[in-house]
Amino acid sequence: MSLSDKDKSLVKAFWAKVAPKAEIIGHDALYRMLSVYPQTKTYFSHWPDMSSGSAPVKNHGKKIMGGLAEAVAKIDDLVGGLLTLSELHAFQMRVDPANYKILAHCILVVLAVYFPDDLTPEVHLAFEKFLANVALAMSDKYR
């Protein structure tokens, strides 16, 4: 389900609105993922604190949103453009690909909370496709 030109422009326009709130959104989405899908906590067993507002959750939420910002900038070639991140996820982190869908859903829920009128069905479709393609890029080197 590749990104059309329309998808790309919808994603870029929506991201421009989202970017100023990136840190809050990143933290909220990550905390929701850990709360609603507790099995995802297995990837963060090394964190001393997983509570809402904690430093590890805030910092990692910021990192994820930074990665997404990079993905938006390189939307025309996600696999190539995100090569370093892709290798990291493939060879070091080995996140089960099913979890990318889970995080994507949590990001969308948070976007719905903060941008209820901007996240129209059309924008939702484009952004979800974008996140799915980012997930594919992240798991590109898995096997």
Binding site: D28, Y31, R32, S35, V36, Y37, S52, H105, L108, V109, V110, A112, V113, Y114, P116, D117, L119, P121, E122, H124, L125, E128
Partner: protein, 147 residues
């Protein structure tokens, strides 16, 4: 048997007490038909689903969205035995409507996103966890009679 904490029950009650069926129902079904276009295969008889505007303006979609959302009432009324309450609806979806049960999850996700746009920050992470559990049980119950 699913175990519910008092807090989870309270969260579910709160969501339903604030739920506007005639708003959330149509918006959820429209979103499913647009974001997951393959779901349109079940609604060819609804007429014009040609594009987003057509879907969002289609009165049959709106009406059916309300029907689907009211389908959750049976679970709310009997949270301790959701499975048995959905036997009939499950058979209907399997034997008569021939709906791929994967679609139930997609619909559940769309309902959740629409509720998030309505409740905004009051749809807290803890509330979302209870809601996800509730919808998962319903989805499982609806998928049970498939063979």
């Amino acid at each position: 048997m699913v175990e519910w904490t008092e807090e989870e029950r309270a969260f579910i009650q709160e969501i339903f007490s604030k739920l506007k069926y005639e708003v959330v129902g149509p918006k959820s079904l429209c979103r499913a038909l647009i974001v997951y276009p393959w779901t349109q295969r079940y609604f060819a008889h609804f007429g014009n689903l040609y594009n987003e505007d057509a879907i969002m303006g289609n009165p049959e979609v709106a009406r059916h969205g309300v029907v689907v959302l009211h389908g959750l009432d049976a679970a709310l009324k009997n949270m301790d035995n959701i499975k048995s309450n959905y036997a009939e609806l499950s058979e209907l979806h399997s034997e008569k409507l021939h709906v791929d049960p994967d679609n139930f999850k997609l619909m559940a996700d769309c309902i959740t996103v629409v509720i998030a746009t309505q409740m905004r920050s009051s749809f807290t992470p803890a509330m979302q966890a209870a809601w996800y559990k509730f919808l998962s049980v319903v989805v499982s119950a609806l998928s049970r009679q498939y063979h």
